[in-house]
Symmetry: C2
Subunit: 129 residues, 2 copies
């Protein structure tokens, strides 16, 4: 059980951010007798997913869907099957993103090659002068 400040430090976010994540239903920390937030392992695990998702530039709305996988009642077979299907879809989306990133990468690389050619041309001209 960690306090808000401990968690904030650990994940390099502000306390405000953690309260905000709670506001939008991403986190659901327990409270002490005196109303202070307590973060257990599950909340920490969710936050880990959130900060990761953020690094990959997922919107909080997208992240929310993924994080809520952790909160779904997974005692029933139907729930489990549906969750797995959802996961498979997410994987497809991620694959698409990876592909697009590889395209943009190739584009930059091609541009770089073009420039290198230009440099070689310039060097030839330098030799001839």
């Amino acid at each position: 059980m960690k306090t808000i400040r401990e968690v904030a430090r650990e994940f390099d976010v502000t306390a405000r951010t953690l309260r905000y994540y709670e506001e939008i239903g991403l986190l659901t920390p327990a409270r002490t007798e005196t109303n202070q937030r307590q973060y257990n392992k599950k909340e920490i695990a969710k936050l880990k997913l959130i900060t990761r998702g953020k690094r990959y530039n997922f919107s909080l709305e997208e992240i929310k869907e993924m994080v809520l996988l952790f909160d779904i009642d997974r005692t029933g077979k139907k729930q489990l099957t549906r969750t797995i299907e959802y996961g498979e879809n997410k994987i497809k989306e991620i694959d698409a993103r990876i592909l697009e990133l590889q395209e943009i990468k190739a584009e930059i690389a091609a541009l770089a090659e073009l420039f290198e050619e230009r440099i070689r041309d310039i060097e030839k001209e330098e030799d001839n002068s």
Copy 2:
């Protein structure tokens, strides 16, 4: 030479968006005698990069860096070399992003497997009852 509305339709963005991209220095369309924007091939190429970047969830600030590669004076050897170096860095960043995406993908897949196991357990229990 295309008008703002033509370009907007072609790329499925609003005219406001194109004006905004100009506001923040991403696009620099020429003007007619009567002050109307004209988009040439170079601007179109830049816009293509911008919309792509957006699809990959790059911020406009990040996209700006990449788009400006098109506007740099590339007549000099030094400029070219520096531009190539920049491109190499960008490629490294993209590679990092790809790696992270692959991690999250693996995580989801692992989760799915766990759930499938749970399902098999449930099915066993069903048989035994």
